[in-house]
Symmetry: C2
Subunit: 109 residues, 2 copies
């Protein structure tokens, strides 16, 4: 998967998910990879960008056609299980923000 998402136009939504992982978060990498794979199959999925630093702070931004697509992904069964595991097992903290894109710019050297 390309590290940066190319999405035409400016009529879509972002889910900005910022998190701090626990020092011990066994199974996290496998879960996160599986969620990316599942998200990419959801109707209305447009792309995703993700980075996590050595200090455990990470940001994943997923892009969606509509609020309805975001809600459907939230309710997807396996994702719902993973969301519960996030709170019980993986994360110290997270912030989730849903935002509507207004404009964008891109650069490729």
């Amino acid at each position: 998967m390309a590290p940066l998402a190319d999405i035409p136009g400016n009529s879509y939504y972002a889910v900005i998910f910022s998190s701090v992982l626990r020092d011990e978060a066994p199974g996290y990498a496998a879960m996160a990879g599986r969620m990316l794979e599942l998200a990419a199959r959801q109707p209305g999925f447009l792309g995703v960008e993700s980075a996590r630093g050595a200090d455990g702070t990470g940001i994943t931004v997923s892009y969606w056609e509509s609020e309805a697509a975001i809600r459907a992904w939230r309710e997807q069964a396996e994702h719902s299980v993973a969301r519960r595991a996030g709170r019980s097992t993986f994360y110290v903290s997270f912030r989730l923000r849903v935002a509507r894109i207004e404009r964008s710019d891109a650069f490729d050297a």
Copy 2:
């Protein structure tokens, strides 16, 4: 600085800046640190979250009270110089998206 931003309400804007660094980007860390310091002094700045992985992919999301605050930061003199250096020296690619927050959630263990 706390790794995650706590911002009351849902009436603000995000600048989602996703980038891939060049293999050689001398001076990048100092420039990035300086820009965070300057941004935090701008009127309308609400917070910032940032992560960069070992593969060079990074995401910085800054939060602002208004579109006007985002424009003023864009035009700040030292930031304008840094933005030019970003294209000439630091980044392979970047995507910049301005988005209006619609709703949010938070978790702290």
